[in-house]
Assembly symmetry: C2
Homo-oligomer: 339 residues x 2
DNA sequence: ATGAAAGCGCTAACAG
DNA sequence: CTGTTAGCGCTTTCAT
């Protein structure tokens, strides 16, 4: 049987509460007993039972991370490990463990979130994306619980979040292409139900409007955030009688797929068609040609979200702070023009 | 205050134990009370406290995943999300949550593992890599606890693991190059303390020996599993007066770095120097030239490891099963020769 | 089929 | 500075 706090207490000739105090480094406890208790713990190979501790303390020192139900898609995108790296670094520094939810498809992630919220196994929750009319936001609205979103809620919600200014960023990206002389510019978006897709699309629209370029529905293609989607989208765009001369892709993976499609059909990039992506994942430097991309500072998003969440959990009060992480367009070789 | 099992009991006019039975779907409980209890739960918005449940049941329905302390390096490699995807899929299917350890550098991950083992927050642990004289293996040896390793322990240990036959796989890869007529073949390895690096190096040696090609220490370069390491290694290899005409890299990222270095120095791949990598990450298809790589079935490794672990946790008995996931070399354009 | 009672291992007032 | 006493919310014998 593994040793409990009582065993240690008995061994050290003190009461359980004293042992408890030693564990949590209570200030007013004599050095002597501290040493004795520690010795007893050592001898008995004692390790605290975190469950019992959490149950009594009503806090678990763990952060829940809600993995969107579309596991495959999500894990496939370099965004995920990078944002998780940011989260992990903060969690580690602040002494929190990470609990990954493992929701099944669709409706399941509502249940997953509710379980996280009510199950008491985590002190707060991190959401990694948001959709239009996201039922998760509903849940958060109805259940006061420390939570932070990476992205932004579609509607105004009393929840803290970290986001990029996606409208502005995509506006800039599109302007860049316009500045290069392009008039017919395509848009490859990820899943339309994601808020981020909508925002970027809006930025694209803004830039076109401002330049007096008419909108053309045929130039906009949405799929999921994977390479395949970009491939498909680009193929469709190139099949148009009046094909675009440039494309802004709302994710680097989409851009890569687009570039592959173009390449296979014999178009050169950037001479025949310019491409700009989003996220600035490592791959952008290595692709051929290297991909001009909007750096959204994924790692930073993760770090900021984790910090915001922890601040809430510690403060014991829910906040609706929001932080905008600046973006920056990194010019490479997929657009031609200035280098 | 959130509703507890007692509240539900009171509301439904039954005892707490009955409610508990309803929750765990106990067989002999009348449909009628079941319905009534469920109704009461609904009305009160009751959700079980997982901590209390775990404490009483002495099991948490969670799997611990030990992230190696070198966070950055690890997250950067596409291996990680892919193996995690496999793990997640199984965990989700079997109803387990995932607890990511967040150990700090060096010695910390021993502590992290011990905490996982004794903290009772997880029912089993998944290790994602193993080193030579790995202190973690020590810990596992001394503390009987369900654990599964992806990789293999350096020495024989009563622990279950999933691995590739890395010696054989690298032997094959090297033979492939030899078969293509290469006589001077370099080896770019990851961190030498990893067992997997050693195994692949051994396969490389075997192939050379068998072909009567003398070993040359200068042809072997080890660094970490990142692109930068491959870049550095290749640069060094190419600086040799008698440079190799081919290189086997023990990780695709290393191979990409190597290709970049070669390219920048004006060497063509595969004409001037052939390259083969390991892992067959998605990127291999997209690089230029596409990279010949050994498919180790990362996802499968994750799935198998999770299954093995769950089997142990459920069986209540520690095992030392081990499974070898087959590898397959995927020929692309980085080696020339047959296509 | 259901209830009563005794914990699971720890923390947190409240005393002293 | 330390001990006593109640729980935290749930499961699980043991009765009935």
């Amino acid at each position: 049987m593994t040793a409990t706090i009582k065993d240690v207490a008995a061994r050290a000739g003190v009461s359980p509460s004293t042992v408890s105090r030693v564990i949590s480094n209570h200030p007013r406890i004599s050095e002597k007993t501290k040493r004795e208790v520690r010795a007893a713990m050592e001898e008995l190979g004692y390790h605290p039972n975190m469950l019992a501790r959490s149950l009594a303390k009503k806090s678990s020192d763990a952060i829940g991370v809600l993995i969107p139900s579309t596991t495959e898609e999500f894990f496939m995108n370099p965004f995920f490990p990078e944002v998780l790296r940011g989260i992990t670094d903060v969690a580690k520094r602040e002494g929190y463990d990470l609990l990954l939810s493992t929701s099944d498809s669709g409706k399941e992630d509502v249940r997953s979130l509710t379980r996280m919220i009510h199950g008491k196994r985590v002190d707060g929750v991190l959401l990694l994306s948001s959709r239009m009319q996201d039922p998760l936001m509903q849940v958060l609205q109805e259940n006061p619980f420390p939570a932070t979103l990476i992205g932004r809620p579609e509607i105004n919600l009393p929840i803290s979040w970290v986001n990029n200014n996606n409208v502005e960023a995509c506006y800039q990206a599109t302007r860049h292409l316009i500045g290069l002389g392009h008039k017919r510019i395509g848009f490859l978006g990820g899943d339309e139900t994601f808020v981020v897709t909508r925002d970027r699309l809006q930025g694209y629209h803004q830039a076109l409007d401002e330049a007096g370029i008419p909108q053309d529905r045929r130039l906009m293609f949405a799929s999921s955030f994977v390479e395949q989607g970009g491939y498909l989208g680009m193929t469709r765009l190139l099949a148009l009688p009046d094909r675009p001369s440039a494309v802004v892709a709302s994710d680097d993976l989409l851009a890569f797929g687009a570039m592959r499609a173009a390449g296979e059909l014999g178009y050169r990039i950037p001479e025949d068609i310019a491409v700009v992506g989003f996220n600035n994942v490592r791959l952008t430097e290595m692709s051929n040609p290297s991909l001009t991309s909007v750096d959204v500072q994924i790692y930073e998003l993760g770090v900021t979200a984790a910090n915001l969440l922890i601040e809430q959990m510690r403060g014991g009060v829910l906040m609706d702070k929001h932080v905008i992480v600046p973006t920056q367009m990194v010019i490479r070789n997929s657009c031609g023009g200035r280098k």
